[in-house]
């Protein structure tokens, strides 16, 4: 179960990187890098499609996503606490 969890959540991470960085590169890139940005966007979309279509494991996908989002939100809160502590000092 853990292996499937690692693979699926790893793919989610790669997908997010591809989608967001692809979006940025496709929008702000020069004529050549823009094409690469579109390629990243296509790869990200393909990964997203693959993740929704695979039905080979019993991984509770959304629980994993909850954990990931929770960790990210927690990290942001921690950094905000740090900034508040530094600014208020």
């Amino acid at each position: 179960m853990n292996t499937e969890l690692i693979i699926s959540m790893g793919l989610v991470g790669v997908m997010l990187s591809m989608l967001f960085m692809g979006l940025l590169i496709a929008y702000y890139g020069s004529s050549k890098t823009r094409n690469v940005g579109f390629l990243f966007l296509i790869i990200g979309a393909a990964l997203a499609y693959y993740l929704t279509q695979t039905d080979t494991s019993d991984v509770a996908f959304w629980n994993g996503m909850l954990a990931f989002v929770g960790g990210m939100v927690g990290g942001i809160i921690g950094i905000i606490v740090f900034l508040v502590a530094i600014i208020k000092s």
């Binding site: 991470g13 790669v14 909850l66 960790g71 927690g74 921690g78 740090f82």
Partner: protein, 153 residues
């Protein structure tokens, strides 16, 4: 993959990783500030470091019951799954970033000169432009000399 949202366990997965995220962020920023900071900032860094350590210790205690201070709030196996999920997704993001950087470095990202619009440059007559500049400079010099001679008078 089970894509159903019926059995979401917010407390086990979201809350536990939220606390872990806060702990890790406090620990990392505390280490950074206590090492590079000076005076008051350094003290704040140590406080953040302590707070981060305590937060992580408490959440581990809530999951595994190693210290025995906090009640067993999280199921051990769920907590492990949540931790594995978070670390895997972060690792995936880092790998994705590396792939993107690698591709961007390999692709020739500099625009060719052929793509540039050189028509405007071809229309320019450089000799005429130079003459105009010389005339402007001469005029400026003359104006200065006239001003100086009037002052002497």
């Amino acid at each position: 993959m089970d894509m159903s949202t019926d059995n979401l366990e917010v407390m086990q997965f979201f809350a536990s990783m939220l606390i872990v995220g806060i702990g890790v962020a406090l620990l990392a920023t505390g280490m950074f500030t206590s090492y590079f900071g000076a005076g008051k900032s350094q003290k704040i860094g140590f406080a953040l470091l302590f707070l981060g350590g305590v937060t992580l210790a408490l959440v581990i205690d809530m999951a595994f019951g190693t210290i025995g201070v906090m009640p067993d709030q999280f199921v051990k196996s769920d907590f492990e799954d949540a931790l594995v999920s978070g670390v895997s997704a972060l690792s995936g993001m880092i790998i994705g970033m590396f792939v993107i950087l690698f591709v961007l470095m390999k692709v020739d990202t500099v625009d060719d000169l052929e793509d540039l619009d050189l028509e405007d440059l071809e229309d320019l007559d450089l000799d005429e432009e130079l003459k105009k500049l010389e005339e402007e400079l001469n005029q400026a010099d003359n104006d200065k000399e006239d001003g100086n001679s009037e002052e002497e008078k």
